[in-house]
């Protein structure tokens, strides 16, 4: 009799003292009552009988057992009979079974693949706008329609598909390549100078150059024209494209006042925790007003795992409010200088990213209230700026 059979159909175990085990076995053998594997247990021997065999044995023994046996019923029905008055247990088992069944109708996880420039958060935001998120009722979500709408709306996605594998949604994306988007713009334009400069060289791929090598130009002066005049076709407008490199002196300045305010945390903080199940939040504490005038808000979301490996659609969110105060603070010369240098670096890094620097000079001045750091960079840089030609 296998364990599963015993559990499903029930069985009885007879425990008898070791010295009387032989007698019990002989009674069972004589009456042709099958019994299962014997086991030594607590100084006695236990043997397993089927319900039918046990009833026959009881009939043979009469009201009381013959050899000091102890009987015990095992199996699923025995457990149910033992706990039949524990309604909470049955209700809990029913709720569990229902939960497991119903949970299969909701989205538990969304996996995004194929994205290169777009972040997962951006894609999830787009899906959320059309009602597709964690906890979405799967039968009500028309994934094909959602994909079509997103493709029409987003110019940078060429293919999108949502595949449902059970309760996990796999979102596959192919992004549109950048040059395909840029080439769509063919509206006529000119290229004008961004700065006062002296022309060094130009690389023109659209339009007609209006300047010459080593010519000095002013800011706003036409460099490449988008108006082409030909004898055969007359005037026509095109989009001026290209780069015009020129020698220019660019000046960058940063001013750092000595008197400033410094943010310091007072040490007081309030935390609120909530549980997010799918996309629904459940606050664990009653909402309280934040008593601080100035505070930083730190939000932390932690996903829960079952046995450390199975992801659950449950997040524990904690929001911490940390009070701070701004106190007046006087910078030292070194601190002001360091801040000035940092600010200047940020300005020059973005502006001179593709420039060929020929020389640089930096000057530092200070007065009673602030420190001024100025740098002049003599460089060769692309000074072309596109300006659309109005055709109205």
């Amino acid at each position: 009799m296998s364990k599963l059979t015993r559990f499903l159909f029930g069985a009885y175990t007879l425990t008898v003292p070791s010295e009387r085990a032989r007698d019990v076995f002989n009674v069972l053998i004589t009456n042709n009552i099958p019994f299962g594997k014997t086991k030594e247990k607590d100084g006695g021997v236990s043997v397993c009988l089927s319900p039918k065999g046990y009833r026959r044995y009881r009939k043979i023994c009469g009201e009381e057992f013959l050899f000091g046996e102890k009987a015990r019923e095992i199996g699923a029905f025995a457990i149910l009979r033992r706990y039949r008055l524990r309604f909470g247990m049955f209700a809990g088992a029913l709720i569990f079974a229902l939960s497991v069944f119903l949970s299969s109708f909701f989205v538990w996880d969304i996996n995004v693949s194929g994205n290169v420039n777009l972040t997962e958060a951006e894609i999830m935001e787009r899906l959320d706008a059309y009602g597709f998120r964690l906890g979405t009722f799967i039968p009500s979500a028309d994934t094909d329609e959602i994909c079509e709408r997103i493709l029409l709306e987003a110019g940078n996605i060429s293919f999108m598909k949502i595949n449902m594998r059970g309760t996990v949604a796999s979102v596959e994306i192919h992004e549109r390549k950048n040059d395909a988007v840029a080439e769509e713009d063919t509206s006529p334009s000119n290229l004008v100078a961004k700065y006062d400069a002296q022309i060094e060289r130009f690389e023109v791929s659209g339009g007609v150059p209006a300047v010459e090598y080593l010519q000095a130009v002013k800011k706003g002066e036409l460099l490449v024209s988008g108006i082409i005049d030909s004898n055969a076709l007359g005037y026509r407008l095109v989009r001026a494209r290209g780069k015009v490199f020129a020698r220019v002196t660019l000046a960058f300045e940063s001013t750092i006042p000595f008197e400033t305010t410094q943010k310091t945390y007072t040490g007081k903080e309030i935390s609120e925790k909530s549980i997010k199940f799918f996309s629904k939040s459940l606050n664990l504490l009653k909402n309280t007003n934040i008593p601080y005038e100035k505070y930083d808000t730190i939000v932390n979301e932690e996903k829960l795992y079952l046995f450390g490996i199975i992801e659950l659609p449950i997040f524990v969110c904690s929001v911490t409010y940390k009070e701070y105060e701004e106190k007046p603070y006087t910078l030292t010369r070194e601190e002001a200088y360091a801040r000035a240098r940092t600010a200047l670096s940020e300005q020059t890094e973005s502006a001179l990213a593709e420039a060929e620097i020929l020389s640089r000079s930096t000057s530092l001045t200070e007065d009673e209230t602030a420190m001024h750091l100025r740098t002049e960079v003599y460089c060769i840089i692309d000074i072309a700026e596109e300006v659309k030609i109005s055709t109205n």
Binding site: A21, N32, K39
Partner: protein, 92 residues
Amino acid sequence: MKKQQNNKGKKERNTFFARTLAATAPRMTIECAERYALLLCGCKKIEAYSPTETVLATAACRVRVRGAKLCISFTGDGKILLSGTISAIEFE
């Protein structure tokens, strides 16, 4: 002399008869699965049981099985299954 010869002949006829009967309609059979299981058919009763030694009585003879962690199962119709680690089987 004649009496001795008669006794010897009777003994030889009885052995011959027992062997022939055992070959055609055995009252007890034993099957072993290596040394871990033993199926005995034709068991009438269990004369002794302990996890190290079990004595089974059959119509033909008594069988003493020695070993360790011996467990008995009865499947009905005189069939006994002994499982455990069997070290010796003796016929008495």
